[in-house]
C-alpha cells in the first residue's frame, strides 16, 4: 500500500541558497520571557543531543536531557575518528558551500533532500568557528592556523581533525557547553536513564516514559516537545562499529506512536574495519577513513599467493610490487583509494568473493602504508638537510610523520590484532558503521508526530543512500547547534499559554503501565537462552541478507526467518533478575526486541526498492561492470513507513525528491 498525500516536507520556496535565510526570517519566535514557560525533553547526549540541549537552554527553554550512559560525555559520537567537514576553503583548493552541497548530494547517490543538504553546507563553517571558540583543539599547522585533510568522495581538503579523536574532541566541546547549562540549572540531566516510550497527548508529543537504570524506577516526564537525538541502529547487525549500548528503542517507540521511519534499509558499511576474529566477538573496530589519504589498498594478483597467505606460508611483505592488485586505483583512477565508502566496501567484497582475500578467513584486504612512510621520510630528510639518506633513515623519519598523523589508530590496531602496522600492512574488511535511514523529518526536523523532532543520525535527511566521511559530525552539530534551536520555535510558539504539561493524564498513565507490562513479560519468559543468543542470530541474518549485497529471494526468506526468530525469542529467552533494580540483561532484552521488529522493516524496504543506490546494492540491478544501477524514473523518492501494528504490514508513503539546483546524473568516480 502506498500513499502520497501525507508527507509535506515544508521546504521553503525560493532559490536554494536563499531558502534557509528566508525561512529563519519567517519562523515564529518565542520571546525570552515565554521561553521560560516552555519545557523541552532532549533524549541522547551525543553531538546532536548535547549541542541541542545546550543551545535550547542558552536560548531560555527549560531542558531535560536524558542519556543511558553514566555520563553525557560517553555517547557514541565520542568514538568518531577522522574529522568534520566544513566549506571554509582555507586550503584555497576551490571549495565552496556549493561544492560541499554538491559532493554530499552526489555522494548520497541522489537520494537525499536537496534543501536540507544545502542548509547543512551553509552552516558547516559556523560549526568550526563555534568549536574553536569552545576550545576544541583541532590540528594546526606551524603557522598556527587550522590544518585540513581529505576524505572519500571529494577532491578538496575540507576535513578538520584532531588526530584520530575528532569525535571525542567535538563531543567534549558540546559536553562542556551542556555542563555549563547544567551548572546554571537550565538543563536538568538524567544520566543512566533510558527512554522507554513516547507519550502523545491530543496528537502532540508531550513527554516520555523513562526507566532509571539504577533503581529500575519507571518515570513519567512531560514537556512541550520531545527531541530525539538517539543515534543510529547499526546494532541491528549485532556486530558493528557502534557502542554496545547503541540502540533503536527511542526511535522505534516514536515509530510505533506514529513517526514514519524513512529509508530504513540505507545502511553504511564502512570499508576499513578490523576483520572479525572469532565467534565470541562482541563488536568491530573502525580504522578511520583518513587512513586512505596515505594507505593503499591491495590484494595479491594471483590466487595462489592469496591462498599461501591464508595458509600462513607467505607474508604480505614478500609479495612483489608487480604481483599486487591495487584494485581501487585500477578501477577508479580519478578517486583511487579515496572513493566513497559504499564503492570501496563493495570492491573489497568483490575481491574476497573472487578468492583473493587474505587473513585466515579470506575476508580481508590490505591497507598498506609502506609507500607513504617512504614518501614522507624522503621529504623529511630533505627538510632536515640529510643528503642521500639510507633506507633505514628514510623509514625512521617517515614512520615519525605517519605516527604523528595516525598514531592512536596504529596503536589501536596493534592492541587488537597483535601486529605492528608500521612493519606489515593492516588487514581490513567492511563492517556496519552508520545508518543513513532514520525517522522521517520535514525541513524543520519535525517527525510526522507534531512536537517530536529528530536530529543527527536518528533522522534520515542529509545523507541519502550513502554518507560521505566526516559528514556525520557535521550533521550532528549542525542540527543541534544551528538548525533545531531555530526551527523548534515554529512549533513552540503555539505553546506560550499552554502552561506546564500534566504528567498524570490518562495518556501518561497508560503509557507507563504498558512499559511496566512489557518488562514484566520479558522477565517472566522462562526460557533457556540469554538475550545475546537472539541478537547474534538476528545480526547474522541481517549481515548475510540485508548487508553489502541483497536480492529479492533472500530478503523474502529473511523476513520469514526474522518473524520466526521473534517467536523463538518469546519462547526461549531468559532474562534474569527483577525490574526494580540495576539489570543490564533486562535493558538488552528490551532493545533487542525492537531490533527484531526493525530488522523486518529493513528487509521489507530493501525488497521494495528495486534498484541499487549508494549502500543499497540489489544484485538484480547492476551494470555489466558490477556498478550500482539506479532507477530514477521509478525510485527517486524517500520511502517513509507508517507503523500499523506489525512491522511487515507498514504502509509505504513516498516523498518524491525534486532536484532544482543539481542535475541528477549517474554517479561515477572513475
Amino acid at each position: 500500500m502506498t500513499d502520497m498525500t501525507k508527507l509535506d516536507a515544508k521546504i521553503p520556496e525560493g532559490p536554494i541558497d536563499k531558502k534557509w535565510t528566508k525561512h529563519k526570517n519567517n519562523i515564529n519566535l518565542v520571546n525570552p520571557a515565554n521561553k521560560r514557560l516552555i519545557d523541552v525533553i532532549v533524549v541522547g547526549t551525543g553531538l546532536a543531543g548535547s549541542s541541542a540541549a545546550a543551545s535550547l537552554a542558552e536560548m531560555g527553554y527549560n531542558v531535560k536531557a536524558f542519556c543511558f550512559q553514566d555520563s553525557p560525555r560517553r555517547a557514541h559520537s565520542i568514538a568518531a575518528q577522522g574529522g568534520i567537514n566544513a566549506a571554509k576553503n582555507y586550503q584555497n583548493d576551490g571549495d565552496s558551500t556549493y561544492r560541499l552541497f554538491y559532493d554530499t548530494v552526489k555522494g548520497g547517490d541522489y537520494r537525499s533532500r536537496e534543501a536540507n543538504v544545502h542548509r547543512l553546507a551553509e552552516v558547516s563553517t559556523n560549526i568550526i568557528d563555534q568549536c574553536v571558540a569552545q576550545g576544541v583543539p583541532f590540528a594546526r599547522e606551524y603557522g598556527g592556523l587550522l590544518d585540513n585533510r581529505s576524505f572519500g568522495g571529494v577532491q578538496v581538503s575540507r576535513t578538520f581533525y584532531a588526530k584520530g579523536q575528532t569525535g571525542q574532541q567535538l563531543l567534549l566541546g558540546a559536553y562542556s557547553a551542556l555542563s555549563r547549562q547544567i551548572s546554571k540549572g537550565k538543563v536538568k540531566l538524567y544520566n543512566r536513564h533510558e527512554m522507554m516510550d513516547l507519550v502523545i497527548v491530543d496528537g502532540k508529543a508531550r513527554g516520555i516514559i523513562a526507566r532509571n537504570l539504577i533503581t529500575g524506577e519507571i518515570q513519567r516526564h512531560s514537556a512541550h516537545a520531545v527531541v530525539l537525538c538517539t543515534g543510529g541502529y547499526g546494532n541491528v547487525f549485532y556486530l558493528s562499529t557502534n557502542a554496545m549500548g547503541s540502540n533503536v528503542t527511542a526511535a522505534w517507540k516514536a515509530h510505533r506512536r506514529g513517526a514514519f521511519m524513512a529509508n530504513p534499509c540505507f545502511t553504511q558499511i564502512h570499508p576499513t574495519c578490523i576483520p572479525v576474529s572469532g565467534d565470541y566477538q562482541s563488536k568491530l573496530t573502525l580504522m578511520s577513513e583518513s587512513l586512505r589519504n596515505d594507505g593503499r589498498i591491495w590484494v595479491p594478483k594471483k590466487k595462489e599467493d592469496a591462498q599461501a597467505i591464508r595458509d600462513g606460508k607467505l607474508k604480505p611483505t614478500q609479495i612483489k610490487e608487480e604481483d599486487r592488485d591495487y584494485y581501487l586505483e585500477r578501477r577508479y583512477p580519478a578517486f583511487g583509494n579515496l572513493v566513497p565508502r559504499d564503492v570501496a566496501s563493495r570492491a573489497a567484497k568483490e575481491r574476497c568473493d573472487a578468492g583473493f582475500g587474505v587473513n585466515k578467513t579470506g575476508q580481508a584486504v590490505y591497507l598498506d602504508f609502506a609507500d607513504a612512510i617512504t614518501r614522507y621520510g624522503k621529504t623529511e630528510a630533505r627538510v632536515q638537510g640529510i643528503e642521500n639518506p639510507s633506507d633505514a633513515k628514510v623509514k625512521e623519519l617517515g614512520t615519525k610523520v605517519v605516527s604523528a598523523k595516525y598514531g592512536n589508530l596504529f596503536e589501536m590496531y596493534e592492541k587488537i590484532v597483535d601486529e605492528n602496522p608500521y612493519e606489515t600492512p593492516m588487514m581490513i574488511f567492511p563492517a556496519v558503521h552508520y545508518t543513513m535511514g532514520g525517522l522521517w523529518v520535514d525541513y524543520n526536523l519535525m517527525t510526522t508526530v507534531p512536537g517530536c523532532f529528530a536530529c543527527g543520525e536518528a533522522n534520515f535527511s542529509d545523507h541519502g543512500a550513502n554518507r560521505l566521511g566526516a559528514s556525520a559530525l557535521m550533521q550532528g552539530l549542525a542540527d543541534g547547534y544551528f538548525v533545531l534551536p531555530y526551527t523548534i520555535g515554529g512549533f513552540l510558539a503555539d505553546d506560550i499559554r499552554t502552561g506546564p504539561i500534566a504528567d498524570d493524564s490518562p495518556e501518561f498513565m497508560k503509557a507507563e503501565s504498558e512499559v511496566k507490562e512489557r518488562l514484566e513479560k520479558l522477565l517472566s519468559a522462562k526460557g533457556t537462552k540469554p538475550v545475546d543468543y537472539f541478537h547474534r542470530k538476528l545480526g547474522l541474518l541481517m549481515w548475510d541478507n540485508c548487508g553489502m549485497s541483497r536480492n529479492a529471494e533472500n530478503l523474502k526468506k529473511t523476513i520469514e526467518d526474522i518473524r520466526a526468530l521473534r517467536e523463538e525469542f518469546w519462547k526461549d529467552v531468559r532474562v534474569p533478575g527483577k525490574s526494580g533494580e540495576t539489570n543490564p540483561e533486562l535493558e538488552k532484552a528490551n532493545r533487542v526486541l525492537d531490533f527484531l521488529e526493525l530488522g523486518e522493516l529493513m528487509c521489507k524496504d530493501a525488497l521494495d526498492r528495486e534498484e541499487s543506490c549508494g549502500g543499497h546494492f540489489r544484485e538484480e540491478y547492476q551494470t555489466e561492470e558490477g556498478e550500482a544501477l539506479r532507477d530514477d524514473e521509478n525510485f527517486k523518492f524517500v520511502s517513509a513507513y507508517e507503523y500499523t501494528g506489525d512491522p511487515g504490514a507498514a504502509v509505504l508513503h513516498k516523498e518524491e525528491l525534486v532536484y532544482e539546483a543539481i542535475e541528477v546524473k549517474t554517479r561515477s568516480y572513475k
Binding site: A133, Q168, A177, S179, N191, A243, Y280, S282
Partner: protein, 250 residues
C-alpha cells in the same frame, strides 16, 4: 585457556560485598577482557545465577565507561590500555585473575563492578568550559593563530577519557590528573585564558567538595592512565591555581 576468576560481588550501594570465585574455560587469546566477561555472564545466566554487572560501552578504548581493577591495577596489566582493549593474550592458561571495582569514596559502588562517577561531571560543571554561547557568530576560526606546540599540548591533555583510573590508582584517591587535564587544555589555548583564574579555583573547590584526596605526587595516576595523560598537567594546574590566588579581584 582455562582461568579462575575472583570477582567482587555487591548487590547494592549499602550491601556488603565479597569476592566470588568462578571458572571460565576455552578462552581464546584474541578475546578482549570484556568478551571473556561476556562468556562468564552467559554461563551464569544459563545456570540461573545473576550475571556480573559492569560498565562498558564503546569497547574501543575511547568512551571511558569500562572501569575494572584487574589484579590490583586499574584496567589491568598493559600500559596505555583500557579494560575493553586488554586482550586475553596478556594472560596464561591456569591464571587466577582478581577483578574489583574502582575504589574511592567519591566513586561509590552501585552494584558489583559498577561505580558512580558523576562527581567527575560535577567537577566539569564547576568550570570545565569556555563561556561562549552557541550563536555561530563567533570569530572566524583562523582569526586567532595558536602556536602548534600549544595546540598539540592542549590536545594531549584533552584526550583524557574521564574513566577515573587515575583516582583508582592513587593511594589518596586524588582526582588531580583528571582535573588538571581539563584545566591545562583550556589554559593553553587563547580562548580559555579569559576566565582561567575563576575556572581553576572553582574546579579545585568542587574537586575537594566531592571528597577526592590530595596529591602527593606519587605518579601512580600517570603510570596507570590508559591515555598517557602527563603529570606535567598537575604542575601546570598548580601554577594556574597559584596565579589565580595572586590575581587581585579574582
Amino acid at each position: 585457556m582455562n582461568l579462575t576468576l575472583k570477582v567482587w560481588r555487591q548487590s547494592g550501594p549499602d550491601a556488603e560485598g565479597r569476592m566470588e570465585t568462578y571458572q571460565v574455560k576455552d578462552i581464546s587469546g584474541d578475546m578482549s577482557f570484556l568478551e571473556m566477561m561476556d562468556v562468564l555472564n552467559a554461563q551464569l545466566i544459563e545456570k540461573g545465577e545473576e550475571p556480573v554487572v559492569f560498565d562498558h560501552d564503546c569497547r574501543e578504548g575511547i568512551c571511558g565507561m569500562c572501569s575494572m581493577y584487574i589484579n590490583g591495577r586499574p584496567h589491568g596489566p598493559k600500559q596505555h590500555t583500557t579494560t575493553c582493549q586488554l586482550h586475553m593474550r596478556s594472560f596464561k592458561d591456569g591464571d587466577t585473575i582478581h577483578i574489583e571495582p574502582w575504589r574511592a569514596s567519591a566513586f561509590p559502588v552501585i552494584k558489583d563492578l559498577m561505580v558512580d562517577r558523576s562527581s567527575f561531571d560535577r567537577v566539569i560543571q564547576a568550570g570545565g568550559y569556555i563561556s561562549v554561547n552557541t550563536s555561530g557568530n563567533t570569530l572566524d576560526a583562523n582569526a586567532i593563530p595558536v602556536p602548534k606546540d600549544d595546540a598539540d599540548a592542549a590536545f594531549d591533555a584533552a584526550t583524557c577519557i574521564g574513566c577515573g583510573a587515575c583516582v583508582a590508582a592513587c593511594k589518596n584517591a586524588s582526582a588531580m590528573l583528571f582535573v588538571s587535564a581539563k584545566v591545562s587544555q583550556l589554559s593553553l589555548l587563547p580562548q580559555g585564558k579569559v576566565e582561567a583564574a575563576e575556572r581553576v579555583k572553582n574546579m579545585v573547590a568542587q574537586m575537594d567538595k566531592e571528597g577526592f584526596g590530595n596529591c602527593t605526587v606519587t605518579g601512580a595516576c600517570e603510570a596507570e592512565c590508559p591515555k598517557g595523560i602527563s603529570l606535567e598537567n598537575i604542575a601546570r594546574m598548580n601554577r594556574e591555581y597559584l596565579k589565580a590566588q595572586l590575581t587581585p579581584g579574582k
